[in-house]
């Protein structure tokens, strides 16, 4: 009964196209944002900031990026980490080589570089489809990391290819503590998530989904398939690029190209699938799941007192098992589970 849309009539199309057409959702979102921006900074510990919240937000952003490409535009990519790497290393070089470069601009430029690389590697998608494309995107993954390792210029000739992110300073304010970095990341993620939501509820988003669902029909209707796919690659890579830069600047600080390896790409793909393909909210759910699950698991298995060699493996098995379990329970991901939950709540206490 709490969750009722009864009585909420939409009188204009404008209100109907709102991001959260139901009032309860709107209030809940507002509450979450208030908590995230105002309450959490005061109550969370540095551990929560730097080990959970910051990576959670950064991965959410990357997952959001991949979700645009895979979930909305239907192009499976296994090269997400490569685009993140481009974003990070490009931002680093902009900061390094352009005196007085504002950091936010460097992030954006980093994202744009990633977008351009994304477009270049997205070109084959015009002909190649499905898992063929997925496997081919591994070319991106390996090539980009190889390139960053091979060309010393990208890493400022550091002998080992490791870069150290510069200090973050915006308008004279230094973002040093985990708390400050958290707020920065949160701000960026919120803005980008809003933009993404806008995109997917307007024509760009519909063009992506149309191409995903049936590209021949989309073409007949008048969408330009090439342009649509490439925009998806560009936007997705842009998001991933920003996420990669934040990963370097706000999370680890010092990175080598290898940090953006295949493993990371996969991790982000899990987030997207577990969270729900084609759902902005799902990206966040997925990121939370993949970031938190191992932590929670290792804490739980820990109390069993088994030797670590056993617990580590059990953890791995449970992790794999849970992925399968969730897929079986809801193949469309946590976002759909959430939606079904809401629908049930709406019907409650009267079934159907």
């Amino acid at each position: 009964m709490i969750y009722r849309e009864a009585g909420q009539y939409k009188t204009t199309y404008d209100t109907d196209t709102q991001i959260f057409p139901i009032a309860q959702d709107r209030y809940a979102m507002l509450a979450i944002l208030l908590i995230a921006f105002i309450v959490i900074p005061f109550v969370a510990t540095p551990y929560i900031f730097s080990a959970i919240l910051i990576p959670f937000l950064i991965f959410s952003l990357a997952a959001l990026g991949l979700n645009i490409l895979t979930g909305y535009a239907g192009q499976i990519s296994l090269g997400t980490a490569a685009f993140m790497a481009v974003g990070a290393f490009a931002s680093y070089n902009f900061m390094l080589r352009v005196p007085g470069m504002p950091i936010l601009l460097a992030f954006i430029l980093g994202g744009i570089c990633a977008a351009m690389v994304g477009i270049a590697f997205g070109l084959p998608s015009l002909r190649i489809r499905g898992f063929y494309l997925a496997a081919s995107t591994l070319a991106t993954q390996f090539f980009v990391v190889w390139c960053l390792t091979k060309v010393p210029w990208f890493t400022n000739n550091s002998a080992s290819g490791v870069i150290t992110a510069q200090q973050i300073e915006i308008l004279g304010f230094k973002f040093d503590s985990p708390q400050e970095k958290y707020l920065l990341v949160l701000g960026i993620v919120c803005v980008l998530a809003l933009l993404a939501k806008n995109m997917v509820r307007s024509t760009v988003g519909r063009s992506w989904m149309a191409v995903r669902d049936m590209d021949v029909a989309a073409e007949v209707i008048g969408f330009r398939v090439m342009k649509t796919k490439l925009t998806a690659f560009a936007v997705s890579s842009f998001y991933c690029g920003i996420a990669g830069a934040l990963f370097a600047y706000c999370y680890v600080g010092t990175v080598e190209p290898e940090a953006y390896n295949l493993d990371l790409s996969f991790r982000i793909l899990f987030m997207v699938i577990i969270g729900g393909l084609g759902s902005i909210l799902g990206s966040f759910f997925g990121a939370a799941f993949i970031v938190l699950l191992p932590i929670v698991l290792s804490m739980i298995v820990h109390v069993t007192g088994l030797p670590n060699s056993v617990t580590s493996n059990v953890e791995l098995m449970v992790f794999g098992g849970l992925i399968i379990f969730f897929l079986i329970v809801e193949p469309h991901g946590l976002a759909r589970l959430w939606q079904i939950g809401k629908e049930k709540l709406r019907l409650w206490p009267f079934p159907h």
Binding site: Y13, S207, R212, A217, A218, V220, I221, F223
Partner: protein, 263 residues
Amino acid sequence: MSDSAQRKIGDVILKADNVSLSFGGVKALTNISFDVREHEIRAIIGPNGAGKSSMLNVINGVYHPQEGTITYRGEQRKDMDTHAAAKSGIARTFQNIALFTGMSVLDNIMTGRNLKIKSTFVEQALWIGRARREEMENRRVVEEIIDFLQLQHVRKTPVARLPYGIKKRVELARALAAEPSMLLLDEPMAGMNVEEKQDMCRFVLDTNDQFGTTIVLIEHDMGVVMDISDRVAVLDYGKKIGDGTPDEVRSNPEVIKAYLGAH
């Protein structure tokens, strides 16, 4: 007929001359000539595998014929290009429903309006000014179509969940959303009962009446075809065996033999 006079059937706007299309060894179309006049309802009938759908595919550029030419609005060309066809106002529905299964009914119909969108990608991302206005404007048009086709109750349903007949109607709605000047319908009434077919006929006739849309229709229900079309072309395994008004076609012995059977 009185209302067809009202509709003022005009000149030929689309003309296919000696079109041939084959896939490997299969000859889908052999030397077909076929024309469509402005504002008319033009039907194509024929047995299964006769090449009806292929003909539509040639008209809007999904298939490219090996021989022959197509003249559309005075412009003669070897083949059409899907995008160009869409731009010049040709919309269509498909035999094997080609809806975007992951999207809601509303979104599906909205995609039909994509060519009307002028706002850029950045404007849409920021959801400001033109983008928002356009969205509202298009939404209004789409809602009208939804009302027209009585799809209100499924507006927000993902199309994958819809029963077959409703899907067909959503497809029509999507095509109408483009405000086409020519509408190609490939078996729009398959899988419907009489009542629903009646509704569908009404939609088609009204579209034709109110907007003057030219309609090319493939349908196996002879009742429907004979009742609503102005001219009927009959294909039989890639060849055209008859063309004319419903009455002419109905009495054409070759057509009876190949398609209608003794009724």
